[in-house]
């Protein structure tokens, strides 16, 4: 997976695209881990270009969330499509990964 990355100083936005699945989740999770280790634990994952997520993608987001929070940051998601929202709801993960409408909303207090 090729994903865009935007460092906005107080936070970093990652923008994966296409299928966020067992192929693409490991590299994104590895990048999140790198950012957290580099002292950038405030991360927004912009899902506007993702049309499908599977359990591997969910696992990467949860793993990233835990890593970010351990370092005093957070991982937030923005612009989730219908499939992503449905899967988050069915897995009860919408409680800890509440989808923000826009990237700006996700990083409003950063």
């Amino acid at each position: 997976m090729i994903f865009n990355e935007l460092d906005e100083g107080t936070s970093v936005t990652l923008q994966p695209s296409g299928k966020f699945d067992l192929v693409s989740a490991p590299p994104l999770k590895a990048r999140i881990d790198d950012l957290v280790r580099a002292g950038k634990p405030r991360i927004v994952v912009d899902l506007s270009a993702v049309d499908f997520i599977d359990s591997s993608g969910l696992g990467a987001l949860i793993g990233g969330l835990k890593a970010a929070r351990q370092e005093g940051g957070d991982l937030r998601i923005a612009c989730a499509g219908d499939q992503v929202k449905a899967v988050l709801k069915l897995t009860n993960l919408d409680r800890i990964l509440a989808p923000y409408g826009t990237v700006e909303e996700a990083r409003h207090d950063w």
Binding site: F52, S55, S56, G59, I62, D82, T91
Partner: protein, 139 residues
Amino acid sequence: MTGEDYTVEGFAVPDELESVHALLSRVAADHPEIDPMDVMLFETAVIEIANNVVEYGKPEGEVRWRLTLRVTDDEIQADLDDTGQEFEAFTGAVMPGEDAEGGRGLAIAESMFDKIELERADGLTHWTMVRKLGRGLGL
């Protein structure tokens, strides 16, 4: 409209998951009468089962599969045959807690299918998966 079968065959490897998505897209395009939510959740569930074969099928990289999709008046059905080793039968997969990083695949699939069955015959594992149309999110 009922009757037509949609089939894809190949190796159960990560790159082939795209052909599963493509097959579902063909079904959706041919059946605009189906609620997109039904196709979307069915696709999500079928991919979780396919992921399982890709990740755990042995010998790794050599497992072959054949997926057939079918639409009836009130259901969307999938039959998946794979040549991997026998898979331990499962039912009642429990959705793990919110901080778990794995273990959701089968629970997701079960929640989105109305029927999922696993049979082993002639060296093949056969998965039968059915979703009734029009049940919405089904929460």
